[in-house]
């Protein structure tokens, strides 16, 4: 006897959970299936050493307040150990820079006025993109009024900026972060930090045109009303995912972990359900995949249900990751030279200059890892001691850049790379090495193996102009719907992109409700 649902969601990553929760709240019978034994995907909290817990995606900063409220996540247990976390740009020489207008003014008088003005202006420009990021992308060249209206609205949003800002937006939208930084700012630590955020997760260094766009997207989403800013949920990111799962369940969705979908069932050119690797099948007229496009279309659906040019686009979509993740179990609080302990409540960026970040991105082009990596470091146990045994600490670092297809081979190189990263940290926080009790290094290949996203890309697919909006992840699947009726996407490879934002899941649910059920 097969169970029937209105909608099956493959993958209980945060976007799958958001999508499922919303559909369930709209009265749909929803089943969310997850191959792993816990929900959340990279936004889960896992024990990487006895008593030490960490989250692969370690910060939350893009999820709109409205979504948190709408899903009642706080009622379902979401609590913040910290929010509005500050950022410190680390300097190898010890002249670290706390990224607040006051500290910037003190450290770099030339930027004193420029920095706040720059932030205000960029936030304003990014604001014009917000409606675009919060809606299903229209299709081009159709006769549908909804598409035309959406395009006109987008044009109107940009025009509303006024002539000067509109011109600046149209100039910088295709520009590189490097030039944006040098056009407006002077302090290398400030420029480096901005460049880090602009390029995080992608394959392109700050000199590459198009790198302003991901930064504007980030700014637009962070700038939404009531946004929690950089935040750390209690219990790590698993705290968020668990709350999402509870919200989904409370709305009536069924969440089943430890079950792997083998393929999507299709009959008469529309989706009818899924078959699990156990052979069991569930039926539903709608299947939403939180998996990446290659996995979804080639492995789960099968190319026989698709057309060649579409499959070709999926095949060529750039989804090789360059981000590695390092988790260290420390028996004491790391002491970063010249850094006030309070800074550990925020995040630390090792991106001391534009050149430094640019060089880090040179390595993966040639199948190498960078010997001078850029990093986003948090010590989550400072805000949330529950993540480690008393007195002990966890250091969590997003590391750039390391090639997915490392020429020298990850099996051969992983130890050397881990040692290099710890050396790097030791340089910043002398004595750290001796406090390391255990370490977990997740290379792009490990991320792929653990989370199943082909290429191990931090955002499932590069967020670049040629993989954005109308063409994200590929033309023909940019509206969350796919060529096969009833099959939808909701993962990070969809608009508006990666990061724990939940917008992809929300918009996918919107597309499902508009089209299918």
């Amino acid at each position: 006897m097969q169970a029937h649902y209105d909608c099956i969601i493959i993958g209980a990553g945060h976007n799958g959970l958001v999508c499922g929760a919303i559909l369930a709240r709209r009265g749909k019978r929803v089943l969310i299936v997850e191959a792993s034994t816990s929900v959340g995907g990279p936004a889960a909290t896992h024990e990487f050493a006895p008593g030490f817990r960490a989250s692969t995606a370690h910060l939350m900063h893009l999820m709109p307040r409205s979504l948190i409220t709408a899903l009642g996540l706080e009622q379902h247990g979401l609590q913040f150990a910290a929010n509005g976390m500050a950022t410190t740009s680390l300097s190898p020489s010890g002249n670290h820079l706390l990224l607040t207008p006051e500290s910037v003014a003190a450290a770099s008088p030339v930027d004193a006025e420029a920095y706040p003005a720059f932030l205000t202006r960029m936030t304003r420009l990014a604001g014009a993109l917000r409606p675009m990021l919060a809606s299903v992308p229209p299709r081009l060249g159709t006769d549908a009024w909804s598409d035309r209206i959406a395009l006109l609205k987008l044009g109107w949003q940009i025009r509303r900026l006024g002539r000067k800002d509109m011109r600046e937006l149209l100039r910088i939208i295709g520009m590189n972060a490097y030039d944006l930084c040098t056009d407006y700012l002077k302090a290398p630590l400030l420029q480096g930090a901005l460049a880090f955020d602009a390029t995080l997760g992608g394959n392109l260094g700050p000199r590459a045109p198009g790198t302003v766009l991901p930064w504007l997207v980030r700014l637009a989403m962070q700038g939404a009303d009531g946004n929690v800013g950089l935040a750390q949920p209690v219990g790590g990111m698993g705290g968020l995912s668990d709350a999402l799962a509870r919200a989904a369940k409370a709305a009536g969705a069924e969440v089943r972990t430890g079950v792997r979908v083998d393929r999507v069932l299709v009959a008469d050119d529309r989706v009818t359900g899924v078959v699990l690797s156990s052979g069991e099948s569930y039926l539903a007229p709608v299947v939403v995949s939180n998996a990446d496009p290659k996995t979804t279309f080639i492995d789960l659906l099968g190319p026989e249900h698709l057309d060649t040019e579409f499959v070709r686009r999926v095949d060529r979509a750039r989804s090789k990751g360059v981000v590695a993740k390092l988790h260290l179990a420390l028996d004491r609080l790391p002491a970063f030279a010249n850094l006030p302990e309070s800074a550990l409540r925020g995040r630390l960026l090792l991106a001391p200059s534009l050149t430094y970040v640019e060089r880090a991105f040179d390595a993966p082009k040639y199948g190498e890892y960078s010997a001078a990596p850029a990093m986003e470091i948090t010590v989550p146990t400072v805000n949330d001691p529950s993540l480690a045994p008393a007195g002990s600490h966890v250091l969590s670092a997003v590391v750039e850049c390391a090639a997915y297809d490392l020429r020298a081979g990850w099996t051969e190189q992983r130890d050397a790379y881990q040692a290099l990263l710890i050396d790097q940290l030791e340089g910043l926080a002398p004595g750290l090495r001796s406090s390391v009790r255990a370490a977990e290094l997740l290379t792009p290949v490990d991320l792929e193996a653990r989370y199943g996203n082909r290429g191990g890309h931090w955002h499932h697919a590069d967020l670049a102009l040629d993989q954005f909006y109308f063409v994200r992840p590929v033309a023909g699947a940019a509206q969350y719907s796919t060529p096969v009726a009833g099959l939808f996407l909701c993962g990070a490879a969809t608009h508006p992109g990666g990061g724990v934002a939940g917008e992809n899941g929300r918009l996918a649910a919107q597309a499902v409700l508009a089209k299918a059920v």
């Binding site: 081009l140 060249g141 590189n176 590459a208 045109p209 198009g210 040179d362 040629d466 109308f470």
Partner: protein, 536 residues
């Protein structure tokens, strides 16, 4: 060139700089009944489109070296063939590899297919898809070259009409090709080529054109669209769109100059402009470096925007925001050039005997990675250790360039910085740069070094000094997305008109940018003529 006679005469228009765009603009304006004076700092006209005799009996196209995108409409309207311009197509091209193999382009489709299939059978057949997609983009873009970019922030009827025109052309491509178009214009050459080809050498060969003259690598987004330059000629349906100007690139300038003078225009060479004169917020004339002042109602600058506005004007005559935008305009020197006189035809063992590709553009590289590493060197402020070179021997085709049996070789090189990380250019460093290029060629040609009679070495620094191009950037400004179309040279001023009334820009700093195309000059002239109500 006519003798100096400007003092007594009143001109309607003064064009500053006798580069090809200045001359094109001058021709159009003179032919429309305006009295035009062209001033040129050097003793010769042409700017970067020149033929120079720097070694006895040899002619060097010592700056620009091929006639690629020169608009057929311009050649025809200005009667350049009548004034002596002949463009002779060159034959294919090739890339030589370090293992002694090579990849060659042939005009014959079957020869090309068999050549590609030596490297990859699949690529041989993917090539047709590649050529088709690039041609589709050519068709889309071609009519935009000779049009003034609309200002998207404007509500003027003309701007809205132009926006609608572009929008309609875009819409007419159909949904699928609209998405293809968005991607084509934003992708890197490497990513774009990856969508078609698997062979490293095939990709490397085609990627070559995407980095010429630019401070970007083949992996930088926004470089893919440059690949269409090679197909522009095909879509023009004009045989020989890519070729050598007989007599060197100076022949282009010479024909333009002759066409201009035949229609009554005046050129003064050796007359460098030191300043644009502004009175009551209106451009009224120019001051020459010897102090002489010349007046006209319309002034047009063929110089790049930085030289025009930052070096030749008082900031107080310009809106401060505009000055700021011009400062932000990216003009980056990234290319060097060697001009070499050879005592005979160098041997290239990698190329089969008798293969015509030696009469085309020859390159030395194996992979896109090698080209990207060459770019990484530039980023670090040094010339590329393994430079990407684009070399041609026009004398094989054009008998006017060198004595019989001897050859002139033009070697264009990516990358060479304008400023070195370890301090200013010195003669020793310049020689170091030259050596890296010569050695690269010598590795492919055992007798090359022994044939060298003379070599002129030009770093971006030299190009700036001699030609006046800021940082020696051959396109008068990077051709990146933030500096194209309505953003070129700066947002709000993409319509050839400077913020000062009566002052116009016609250099490659303006839309559609660089290359010896003539389009900026044509469009700038149209802007003047429209403002003076000489045309609709």
């Amino acid at each position: 060139m006519s003798a100096a006679s400007g003092n007594s005469k009143r001109y309607d228009v003064i064009v500053v700089g006798a580069g090809h765009n200045g001359l094109v603009a001058a021709c159009y304006m003179q032919r429309s009944g305006l009295n035009v004076l062209v001033l040129e700092r050097n003793d010769y006209i042409g700017g970067a489109a020149v033929s120079r005799s720097l070694y006895p009996e040899f002619t060097y196209s010592n700056c620009s070296y091929v006639c690629s995108l020169l608009r057929p409409e311009i050649m025809r309207q200005l009667e350049l063939p009548k004034f002596g311009l002949q463009v002779i197509p060159y034959e294919g091209g090739c890339t030589m590899m370090h293992d002694g193999n090579h990849f060659a382009l042939y005009d014959n489709h079957d020869a090309l297919r068999r050549e590609i299939s030596r490297h990859s059978k699949r690529d041989a057949e993917a090539y047709d898809r590649y050529a088709r997609d690039v041609m589709r983009q050519c068709k889309f873009i071609k009519p935009l070259l000779l049009r003034e970019p609309p200002d998207p922030t404007s509500f003027k009827i003309r701007d809205i009409q132009e926006l609608l025109y572009i929008g309609k052309r875009f819409h007419n491509m159909g949904e699928k090709r609209m998405y293809d178009t968005i991607r084509f214009w934003t992708m890197s050459a490497a990513d774009f080529l990856d969508e078609y080809f698997e062979s490293e050498i095939v990709k490397a060969h085609y990627a070559g054109s995407s980095i010429i003259g630019t401070a970007l690598g083949p992996r930088s987004p926004g470089t893919a669209y440059v690949l269409l330059h090679h197909y522009m000629g095909d879509i023009d349906d004009t045989v020989g769109a890519w070729g050598f100007a007989r007599g060197g690139m100076g022949a282009v300038s010479k024909a333009l100059g002759a066409s201009f003078e035949a229609s009554g225009g005046t050129i003064r060479a050796g007359a460098g402009v030191s300043k644009f004169l502004v009175r009551n917020e209106r451009a009224v004339g120019v001051a020459l470096s010897d102090g002489e002042e010349l007046y006209a109602n319309t002034i047009m600058s063929n110089m790049d925007v930085k030289r025009t506005f930052l070096e030749s004007m008082d900031a107080s005559d310009l809106p401060s925001e505009f000055v700021e935008q011009v400062r932000k305009f990216k003009i980056r020197g990234s290319s060097g050039k060697l001009n070499i006189a050879l005592d005979g035809l160098p041997e290239f063992p990698a190329i089969p005997k008798g293969a015509p590709c030696i009469r085309g553009d020859m390159h030395v590289t194996d992979t896109i990675d090698m080209m990207e590493r060459a770019y990484d060197d530039w980023k670090a402020g040094r010339w590329s250790q393994a430079p990407y070179i684009d070399m041609l021997m026009p004398s094989q085709i054009d008998p006017t360039m060198a004595p019989n049996g001897k050859h002139y070789m033009s070697v264009f090189t990516q990358y060479c910085p304008y400023e070195l990380a370890d301090g200013p250019w010195t003669p020793e460093k310049k020689q170091g740069f030259a050596n890296s290029v010569i050695e690269t060629i010598a590795r492919q040609s055992p007798n090359f070094k022994s044939l060298i009679l003379h070599a002129e070495v030009r770093t971006p620094f030299d190009i700036e000094r001699e030609v006046g191009l800021t940082e020696g950037n051959i396109f008068q400004g990077e051709l990146t997305m933030d500096q194209l179309l309505f953003n070129r040279p700066v947002p709000g001023y993409a319509q050839y008109r400077a913020p000062v009334r009566g002052l116009y820009m016609c250099g490659s700093s303006t839309h559609p940018g660089g290359g010896v195309m003539g389009a900026p000059g044509h469009n700038a002239a149209q802007a003047v003529l429209r403002d003076l109500k000489k045309v609709a």
